[in-house]
């Protein structure tokens, strides 16, 4: 005979204010199998748990029901309390009378109390059919996949590899480095981005524990935490990286000129190219869209000049597979396209550029030898207007969030302008100056004094052309007047946006993303680097806009998570997984089709007792099954049972109310 203990929590006032907790206890006591029922202020506190432990021994309880908050909050806590009292932890059932009752029925205490009692009754009925379950151990593949080789991916890869855990780093473009490789000097200390980034890029390439796979994409991820299998597409580079020395003869001779992405299209690169001189790996790739040999079969110059014979026009995309145990996603961000700002003349006026274009111009290795120049006539500008929040905090035209980095980099840009063009004057149109961060406020203050920049608080309403100047009209909210500034160059601090392919990538990885396309963390405060899928972590701007210090911190946090995951040789796994009763299985394979984790395969069993004939049935890999229950629902002949949610348990629940 089952002996159930029921423990009802007040959750301070959270439950007690809207549910008559003592009444729920009284109702519970009426259930035949309930031998002990009690309420308590905070069941999850240590004295609360002690009540459970004591009652198990005193009343020889066979299963426990805790009526409290969502099992997501404290199921683990209470399971542990059962274990500590020598009881199998899976004999616990949690009735969620907070999220499912008190919080949603705050206006009707009577109904909320009745519902709470029903939930308790169901949990008691279910718990009677609970079985003892035991954790499963599965082996772990100690290798991590890092997707994206910006500063986030680089830092995560290095930190993981330094712990002697092999890393596979997949980068979409021909070189790692990401956006940071396009920056000049960086706030708040103004050290040159290349100087601090390049050594890290080189470390990645030479690290014995890192396998760098550039110019490639992730196609498919299968499996589960500790045991993923990833398919990677290596795009054809048409250059044999093994023999190429990176001498550059090919790209010097290539006749095809293409807009240079690295320099924001300000100058040209060739059809065979390395994105920038410090690229890692420093091997060129052929841009198949523009190479005339590949498009029209005419040219072939690069192959002729390559002394190593490294050019191979027949090269095909290659698909490779790796077994990995954890994933760090670090796909960074895109720059938001300011096209909707028609009133600024975006697209019409040449002398309006974006912040990243400005960044490229002032960079020592940039297309203009480090000088900002007007795209229209190549002259050095004197009056430069910076406009912040272009696309950011603008629900109507852009995105409602704050891009977080623009205040700081615009300040940096005023300094860089001042350094490069001594007699220049900068104007900044701004909504706020958000300079929260170590040394940030000081950086902004000092810049204002040193550069003598004019700050105008307000949005720009219109930009129009007057001769070869641009007239920037906006409001100066501090004096409450419309102001007009004559500018030689206008720089838009365009918003940071999520990478376009993030939704596709998220679907492929089985993780979620928000309405903007940023990948979602498991908990905004307490689990900011984990995703809801075990073993997949997030670093850098792919989760939300952030600057380099924050990106690097998050990347290192990911590395710590990966190292923690790989600390043992095996991993404990929840035993709430599915199994097939082969006697009932007809081999229809609906379950095989529906399992989102690829956990189900087919197997052959004798047709009947002693029969030599074989028939096909389903078989579930217990290491792979995540206990989602999809197969259980799809199987018509109920040949599949999910431990912890068996038919008798569910039917007991239904029948109890």
């Amino acid at each position: 005979m089952a002996r159930v203990g029921v423990f009802v929590c007040f959750c301070g006032a959270n439950i007690a204010d809207y549910v008559d907790v003592p009444q729920v206890v009284e109702e519970a006591k009426r259930i035949r199998e309930v031998k002990f029922a009690i309420d308590y202020k905070y069941m999850c506190s240590d004295p609360g748990q002690q009540q459970i432990r004591d009652a198990i021994a005193q009343h020889r309880l066979t299963s426990i029901v805790v009526a409290a908050c969502s099992p997501r909050m404290h199921e683990k806590t209470f399971r542990k309390a059962l274990s500590d009292a020598g009881m199998n932890p899976y004999l616990l059932e949690v009735a969620n009378i907070r999220e499912h009752s008190s919080w949603v029925h705050q206006k009707d205490k009577k109904a909320a109390t009745e519902k709470a009692s029903d939930l308790v009754r169901m949990a008691v009925a279910k718990s009677i059919a609970n079985e003892q379950l035991h954790e499963i151990s599965v082996p772990v593949t100690k290798r991590a996949l890092v997707i994206g080789g910006g500063i986030a991916g680089i830092q995560a890869a290095l930190d993981i590899a330094d712990a002697r855990i092999p890393v596979v780093l997949v980068e979409k473009s021909p070189s790692i480095g990401g956006k940071m490789a396009q920056l000049d000097e960086t706030f708040p200390t103004l050290d040159c981005a290349q100087c601090i980034l390049t050594p890290k890029m080189v470390d990645v390439a030479s690290h014995p524990y890192i396998e760098l796979i550039p110019y490639s994409e992730v196609l498919e991820l299968q499996g589960f935490v500790g045991n993923y299998k990833v398919k990677i597409k290596k795009k054809a580079s048409y250059v044999n990286f093994k023999t190429c020395t990176g001498c550059g003869a090919c790209w010097q001779k290539c006749p095809v000129k293409v807009d240079n992405e690295y320099n924001m299209g300000i100058d040209k690169r060739k059809a065979i190219y390395t994105p920038f001189p410090q690229a890692v790996p420093n091997k060129p790739v052929i841009d198949a869209e523009h190479c005339t040999m590949l498009t029209k079969g005419k040219c072939g110059i690069c192959a002729k000049v390559c002394e190593k014979g490294s050019i191979d026009y027949q090269m095909q995309d290659e698909i490779i597979e790796r077994e990995i145990g954890a994933v760090v996603v670090a796909t960074g961000y895109d720059m938001w396209d300011p096209k909707p700002y028609e009133e600024y003349g975006v697209g019409r006026f040449k002398d309006i550029i974006t912040s990243l274009e400005f960044e490229r111009m002032v960079s020592a290795n940039g297309p203009t030898n480090g000088l900002p120049l007007r795209p229209s006539d190549g002259k050095v500008p004197k009056n430069v207007v910076f406009i912040k929040c272009v696309g950011s905090r603008d629900e109507a035209k852009g995105i409602s969030y704050c891009s977080k980095i623009c205040c700081m980099y615009t300040t940096k840009h005023t300094i860089l302008l001042h350094h490069k063009v001594h007699d220049s004057h900068a104007y900044v149109f701004y909504m706020d100056i958000r300079a929260a961060g170590k040394g940030y406020e000081e950086f902004v203050e000092k810049a204002q004094v040193d550069t003598g920049t004019t700050y105008l608080r307000g949005r720009v309403s219109k930009i129009y052309k007057k001769g070869d100047k641009l007239m920037v009209r906006g409001e100066d909210a501090q004096i409450g007047q419309v102001v007009e500034v004559e500018a030689d160059l206008v720089v838009l601090a365009t918003a940071v946006s999520a990478p376009k392919d993030n939704p596709d990538l998220a679907r492929l990885l089985g993780i979620s993303y928000d309405k903007y396309g940023y990948l979602s963390e498991a908990h905004p405060k307490l689990r900011p680097v984990e995703t809801a899928k075990a073993g997949i972590f997030l670093a850098g701007c792919t989760q939300a806009p952030k600057d380099i210090p924050e990106t690097v911190s998050q990347a290192s946090a990911c590395a710590a998570k990966v190292c923690g995951l790989f600390a043992g040789d095996t991993m404990k796994k929840d035993p709430m997984i599915s199994t097939v009763n082969t006697e009932y299985c007809s081999g229809c394979q609906n379950c095989v089709k529906v399992c989102p984790y690829g956990a189900i395969v087919t197997d052959e069993v004798p047709f009947g007792h002693g029969s030599k004939e074989l028939r096909t049935v389903a078989k579930i890999n217990e290491g792979v099954c995540q206990g989602c229950g999809s197969c259980v629902a799809i199987c018509r002949s109920t040949a599949i049972n999910l431990a912890g949610f068996t038919d008798p348990q569910i039917i007991n629940e239904i029948v109890s109310i």
Binding site: S586, C588, N590, V594, T638, I651
Partner: protein, 283 residues
């Protein structure tokens, strides 16, 4: 519609060429002009085979039986029968290479009174969709019809509908003939027969019939091909097609005009998922 001669010729040929172990067709009962399924194992019995508008049964149901399983089988299928055959192929219950399928471009079969069957009047896919050889012309254009029964049902309030069915279920004797006669009910152990399935237990109470038949009809939702084997088998003459036609209509209207078993590899609307799937018809 009489293909007796052609079918006999095909069966004779298949036995002569040693292509099959058994031929599944129709023969006369011996009492009247009604027909029963025939399992022919030798060429000398081939003259028993007939095929005409009285060849009503869906013979794909005979593929799950001991005499045909893992054997090389010759099989006659009309439009609806071929669709259930298609599902059996998709659901890995039979192997195509073991079958020689004689498809019929069906002109409709008749009931005991000689009236064309209602499902034939409404049939969307009269010609077989899987076959090695097709008898008749396959160019019959059809339109989806919601029959009068279903219109009546749709006009009823939910409560009235339930009352109606409770009355219907009173006559069910839980013999399970409906299930046994359905080609798509091949489960190794039907959910209704399982010890844990307490909802269906209790000999022939209205409630157990209700639960069993509702479950059954949901297991056929998006799979039932409207062959009416089940209805013909029911000793209590329950209007079983009502469940199936109701489901068929809901699925046709909500899931891109889905019809069961028309395409090989298609498991049915309830066995795949798309973001566009509607859910507003769920009670």
């Amino acid at each position: 519609m009489d293909y007796t001669k052609q079918i006999q010729e095909i069966a004779t040929r298949l036995f002569a060429e040693d292509k099959i172990d058994v031929f599944v067709g129709y023969r006369l009962t011996g009492f009247d002009d009604n027909q029963v399924p025939a399992l022919i194992r030798e060429s000398k019995d081939v003259p028993l085979l007939v095929f005409n508008q009285k060849s009503v049964f869906n013979l794909s149901n005979y593929l799950k039986n001991d005499h045909t399983r893992n054997k090389r089988v010759g099989l006659v299928v009309k439009g609806c029968d071929s669709r259930s055959l298609n599902l059996l192929l998709t659901e890995s219950q039979v192997k195509r290479e073991k079958l020689y399928v004689v498809g019929i471009a069906c002109e409709g079969v008749v009931d005991d009174a000689g009236q064309k069957m209602q499902n034939c009047l409404e049939c969307m896919v009269p010609a077989a969709v899987v076959y090695d050889e097709l008898l008749g012309e396959a160019n019959m254009e059809r339109r989806f019809i919601i029959n009068a029964d279903i219109q009546d049902m749709a006009a009823k309030e939910l409560v009235q509908r339930r009352e109606y069915f409770e009355e219907v279920f009173e006559n069910c004797i839980r013999c399970n003939a409906c299930r046994h006669s359905c080609p798509l009910c091949y489960c190794a152990k039907c959910c209704i027969d399982q010890e844990t399935a307490t909802l269906y237990n209790g000999a022939n109470t209205t409630s157990s019939a209700f639960h069993a038949l509702m479950t059954w009809s949901l297991h056929l939702a998006g799979r039932c091909v409207d062959c009416r084997n089940c209805e013909k088998a029911c000793p209590s003459h329950l209007p079983l097609h009502l469940f199936h036609k109701w489901n068929e209509r809901v699925i046709y209207e909500n899931f891109q005009e889905h019809l069961a078993g028309v395409h090989e590899g298609d498991r049915g609307a309830f066995y795949k998922y798309s973001m566009q799937d509607p859910d507003d018809f769920i009670m």
